[in-house]
């Protein structure tokens, strides 16, 4: 038996793999109140106006995770190391998902959108950056029903004034860009680094879309609302580690 195994190894090759560290990232809708589903999302502004979103898409261009700052001791080790530690951005790196994903805002809040799985260098990760920018033709989930290509955000809905009166329809599209740098938060909402330091560890992280906060400071009927919303959306994003 042994000669057969040895011969097949030599001729065909024998290989095996031991898993390293990994972080699966998902995009999830997480309003402050109850989760929503169905054909519209209902959001109440601080002034009492009610915004009903009937269609909406947001392009998440990339997500990158950032290691916790080096300690003084580690900085010394890095300085002594003959191996360089360049931190240049590229299209695809072990710490960055560069494949754009278009999020359908009417997707059931209970369903998360999988962005990808990172296999980053072993380290503790404290922060992440999320980039919102116009979708290209290769974006995952690009809708056919609305002109999302070339846009970062596309929204359609109505605003019902707090004092009563007819609902005002709106349709917004923006090609502006925004980037948010956020800390990873634990289940309790406090900063919680993600330790990816032991081989075999597979963790999950989430980019949380807090759509109920988008209109806190932005009136969708006001001029320039589309670009202002992209900034407001970026500011409302959160990173969670499970």
């Amino acid at each position: 038996m042994l000669p057969v195994v040895v011969t097949s190894c030599l001729v065909l090759g024998c290989s095996s793999e031991e898993a390293g560290v990994s972080l699966a990232l998902h995009l999830a809708h997480r309003p402050s109140g109850a989760s929503q589903s169905g054909p519209e999302r209902i959001i109440q502004r601080p002034n009492g106006d009610v915004v009903r979103l009937t269609r909406g898409h947001l392009n998440v261009a990339s997500v990158e995770i950032l290691a916790c700052p080096s300690t003084a001791w580690r900085k010394l080790l890095e300085a002594l190391s003959p191996v360089g530690t360049a931190r240049a951005h590229t299209e695809g790196t072990p710490t960055r998902i560069g494949e754009p994903h278009v999020d359908d805002l009417l997707r059931d809040d209970a369903q998360a959108l999988t962005l990808g799985t990172l296999k980053p260098p072993a380290d503790r990760y404290c922060r992440g950056t999320v980039l919102l920018e116009p979708a290209d033709a290769d974006a995952v989930g690009l809708p056919a029903s609305v002109p999302m290509e070339g846009n970062t955000l596309w929204l359609e809905g109505t605003v019902e004034p707090a004092g009563g009166g007819a609902a005002q329809p709106f349709q917004l599209a923006s090609s502006s860009e925004a980037e948010v740098d956020a800390q990873f938060l634990g289940p309790a909402g406090s900063p919680s680094p993600v330790p990816l330091t032991t081989a075999g560890i597979a963790r999950t992280g989430q980019v949380l879309v807090r759509y109920d906060r988008w209109f806190d400071g932005v009136d969708p009927l006001a001029p320039g609302a589309a670009d202002a919303l992209v900034d407001a959306i970026a500011a409302s994003l959160e990173l969670r580690a499970d």
């Binding site: 001729v11 090759g13 560290v21 990994s22 360089g84 072990p94 980053p120 081989a199």
Partner: protein, 298 residues
Amino acid sequence: MRPSWLLPALALLALTVAGPALACATCGCGDPTLLSIGVEQPFGGRIRAFSEGQYRTESSGTPQTGGTALAEWALNLGGSYAFSSRWALSLTVPVLFRTLESADLSRDHSTNLGDVEALAKVVLWRDREFSARHLFSLLGGMRFPTAPLQRLPDGTVLGSDIQAGPGAWWFIGGVSYYARLGGPWSAYASVLAYLPTKGREGLEPAPTGRATVYGQLQPWPWLSVRLGTDMRLDGVWHENGAVSPDTGGFIAFLSPAVLLSPATDWVIQLAARIPVINALEGVHTEGTSASISLVVDL
């Protein structure tokens, strides 16, 4: 995966292949110098068998760009046969045990045959037929794509860094010069060029040049010490039409060795290669390698 059986295997192999010598090799060529495989003076019917265990390390890239570190144990088996005092043929069959560690702490292991290499040596000029002091030779051969394509059990093809060969045919050509300088001194120099065809899985290996120069001192018939340099000049590889990062460049090693002859026609060589000039492209380093080999004239 360190093959703990490597050294016993070397010894066993040598004992297996080494029958009683009919006549000593030194007597056959009039050169008592202890020499590695391929360096020896050919004479008609000379057969040498060798086995070598080698360990080396190599790393490329940075953690942020998916850098990897390779550790390789190699068991090289082979032999040479001299058809006459003018030309000889040698064959090297490598068996490789490789571990590739990535910055994400994942590890790939592979065990397989490497690329088999055949090299012919034609003596173009020697100062005298017997007990020659100067030999100038032409070298030519082929490295064959015998290393299998490595896949995981689910069929996924492993990355090019862990593959034992690119799947290319390499044409080899070069020259060598061997000199007995008088007394216990000798010297050897060689230059070889490797010219590859296209490989598999989109790999396009680049031509590489190798040079070796060393001097050797043999104070006693059973002991030699050697000091020299091995140099390598690599072209830049391509993968799927794009430049393969951290490939190409120049590296030079300081290469000390000790050669022992415990019995007639047996040579044990302990050697190291210490990188002293690293001008490899990108982030690419090679560590000190060590080897032990046994050469037996049959």
